[in-house]
Symmetry: C2
Subunit: 120 residues, 2 copies
């Protein structure tokens, strides 16, 4: 089955090891050997994760014979951000409403405290 580009990106991001690999690559390109050091998984397992990330366009591999450095392709994440953009307004509105509600609760509480303090 052909997977659409955005689905492939989301699927690639749905794994903590792959997200950790991206976080490492955000600090600069590096070799597969260096990349696998912090993970307690086999080299083939790391290679499999890298293939998923590469297929989703999230990383690129160098073509040097001896050393094939992995590089983050951060612009590929912009597509994920563009998708989220449609929903940003919705969660911001919801968080604003939650803020308003908490402020109302707080102000009611303050009034109640004042009233109980003014009572003899």
């Amino acid at each position: 089955m052909q997977t659409d580009v955005l689905s492939a990106k989301f699927a690639a991001l749905a794994d903590p090891t792959r997200r950790a690999i991206l976080a490492r690559l955000a600090r600069g390109e590096t070799s597969v050997g260096e990349l696998s050091k912090p993970f307690e998984i086999s080299a083939p397992a790391i290679s499999k994760h890298l293939k998923v990330l590469e297929k989703a366009g999230l990383i690129a591999r160098g073509r040097e014979a001896q050393w094939r450095p992995c590089k983050l392709n951060a612009t590929a994440l912009k597509e994920v951000d563009n998708w989220l953009e449609e929903y940003r307004r919705l969660w911001e509105e919801r968080l604003d409403r939650l803020d308003d509600y908490l402020n109302q609760l707080k102000s009611k509480e303050t009034k109640r405290e004042r009233r109980s303090r003014s009572k003899p």
Copy 2:
């Protein structure tokens, strides 16, 4: 295997039908029947998608006996946005550099055109 919350969200988003369901719910809550109308898939398949979205916290289902409306939980997408935030600076820098490069190319081209026009 226990899936972490963020991985569950990314996995839930890695499907065009599930993203289309979220897009429909962004316009307001609705019933499962209404939700399945635009999709050429069976009611059980839609139910399966809704379960994935619900488990990932992206939607909530009403508890009314006759009518269990589905509702988007947009604030759950904020966690995905928070994760992306770390990478935003990187792709913005890269797009800025690309802009600079294109501007340089354009200005070289303009100079070349001027020179060729000033020649007899």
